[in-house]
């Protein structure tokens, strides 16, 4: 039983990362109709930035948790203005080429300076040790990640569903032309939304630094699963991406624990689930068919 609790907890923690990354991809796709293949690279930059800030300038985790998301959001906004916005009028192939190319550039820049070996990042002292939940105890840092990610998802959900900004973003996402016709400058929201999605990826990166190996390719491995998560949840569906993020974290953890005798299955279970969901619901669990503009 405690093994099950352990696996479930770890699954939720991995799921928290998937959810944060998928959430960013979903808001970006919704507003820009761009699939950001560079999302994993920004996650990596978040973690690497936290590492460099600490190692070279002594900037602690808590400061990095603010500096990196904000800095990367600004970088994302600059990139959106410089190149990403050109994609809207082009064939989707360019979407892939540009954002994937961006990934390679960002990864190689980091590699050039810091090499490919993993760098250790110490868990902040406030969050070291473990929390005793009676029957089980979990590492404090992971409990923090889970709580923080859940709070963040709830906050984003609240903003999207309960505020005027959220209403404008939803309307612009669903029917951009119609929304323009109702006096809303949809274009004005595109850059900040892109920056916000990138900021979330950077935040997930900072959170990952103390518990995952910090290296230039850390995002590349993770993002493949995140794309499966986004497809399962329904491309562009905010709720779907978060739910599928946590769901896939659980499925993966359980798969690894209970199907370890079938490594082929446990390693591919995410994609098996994805294929199954797509056969059943081609637009994903919470996706809707595209409405006319």
């Amino acid at each position: 039983m405690s093994g099950f609790a352990q696996n479930t907890f770890n699954g939720l923690v991995s799921g928290a990362f998937y959810a944060l990354l998928a959430l960013g991809l979903a808001v970006i796709f919704g507003m820009l109709r761009v699939v950001n293949f560079a999302h994993g690279a920004f996650y990596m930059l978040g973690a690497f930035g936290a590492y460099v800030l600490l190692a070279e300038a002594g900037v602690p985790f808590w400061a990095a948790l603010v500096i990196m998301p904000v800095g990367l959001a600004l970088l994302g906004m600059a990139l959106e203005r410089a190149v990403i916005h050109r994609l809207t009028k082009l064939d989707p192939l360019y979407n892939f080429l540009l954002t994937f190319g961006l990934t390679l550039i960002l990864q190689d820049l980091v590699k050039l300076r810091y090499g490919v070996q993993s760098s250790p990042y110490e868990t902040p002292s406030l969050l070291s040790g473990s929390v005793d939940f009676g029957l089980f105890d979990f590492p404090t840092y992971r409990v923090f990640i889970l709580g923080f990610a859940v709070l963040l998802c709830v906050a984003v959900w609240w903003v999207l569903t309960r505020t005027r900004i959220g209403m404008v973003v939803r309307a612009s996402t669903e029917r951009p032309d119609l929304t323009r016709a109702f006096g809303i400058d949809v274009g004005r929201w595109v850059t900040p939304v892109f920056g916000f999605g990138i900021g979330l990826a950077g935040l997930a990166g900072v959170l990952a630094a103390p518990m995952r190996a910090v290296n230039p390719l850390m995002g590349a491995d993770l993002i493949i699963v995140v794309f499966a998560v986004v497809v399962i949840g329904g491309l562009g569906s905010i709720f779907g991406s978060v739910a599928a993020g946590f769901g896939i974290g659980l499925v993966q953890a359980w798969g690894e624990a209970y199907l370890s005798n079938f490594p082929l299955v446990s390693q591919t279970i995410v994609f098996v689930v994805m294929a199954g969901v797509l056969l059943w619901r081609p637009a994903g669990l919470f996706g809707r068919e595209e409405a006319p503009a």
Binding site: M167, R170, R175, D177, T179, R180, A181, F182, G183, A291
Partner: protein, 230 residues
């Protein structure tokens, strides 16, 4: 108030509007009739600034708005009731109503909207696309009234409505007119059109074929209905 001059519109290579010129004066209700595919909806889209492939000029209150983006046109007081009703699935009924900023001197309050449309009040927290077709029509009309738009561009607002609701749409348009609102109305129901409008344009194959007043439409009703294929 609205002046369209030599407006041409294209979908790719296909030309849908050919040198259309027409005018709507302040306070007038003018209809646009024509067969399916004549280009009526495209014309409203051009006025709204949503049609990329166009040539010609659109003037509002003497100001050339041809190059103005759609959201700025809306803020000048244009209110569009699109042919597909323009309901948002991800917005509640109330949000659908309050999404557009108020743009005119005389916007309806939400209370007034709900008083006039009790059915919308009952469903105010539902997703707009869960409403019946008729309720979505009402929502689309209520939305531009709440904006306080000065020029309504209504694309077949009575299509598929019960006679009772058609009557209500007519009352609303007449009331709006009394308050000085100008309306460009796409309408296939000639009886309804002559009941609310001052003048009519017949659009045929992308051109303004005829301009008619109410008495002319009434006297030629049978011929026009046959032409429209209704």
């Amino acid at each position: 108030m609205l002046r369209i001059e030599n407006l041409s519109a294209f979908y790719g290579e296909a030309q849908v509007l050919r040198d259309v010129s027409l005018e709507v004066s302040a306070g007038e209700v003018v209809t646009l009739v024509g067969r399916n595919g004549a280009g009526k909806s495209t014309l409203l889209r051009c006025v709204m600034g949503l049609h990329p492939g166009q040539r010609g000029t659109v003037e509002l209150d003497g100001r050339d708005i041809t190059r103005l983006p759609a959201h700025k046109r809306a803020r000048l007081g244009l209110g569009w009731v699109p042919d597909d009703r323009g309901s948002y699935a991800t917005l509640t009924v109330t949000e659908n109503l309050t999404l557009p900023p108020t743009v005119g001197p005389d916007p309806w309050s939400l209370e007034r909207v709900y008083e006039a449309f009790p059915a919308l009040h009952t469903r105010r927290d539902s997703a707009a696309t869960m409403l019946s077709g008729g309720e979505q029509q009402m929502l689309a009309l209520a939305r531009v009234l709440r904006m306080g738009a000065r020029l309504l561009l209504c694309d077949e607002p009575t299509e598929g409505l019960s006679p009772l609701l058609v009557q209500q749409v007519g009352d609303l348009l007449r009331e709006a007119k009394r308050h000085g609102v100008t309306v460009l109305l796409v309408e296939q129901n000639l009886h309804f059109a002559t009941g609310v409008a001052d003048r009519h344009y017949l659009l045929a194959e992308g051109r303004v074929a005829e301009a008619m007043d109410n008495s002319e439409v009434r006297s030629r009703e049978r011929e026009l209905l046959a032409y429209l294929g209704i």
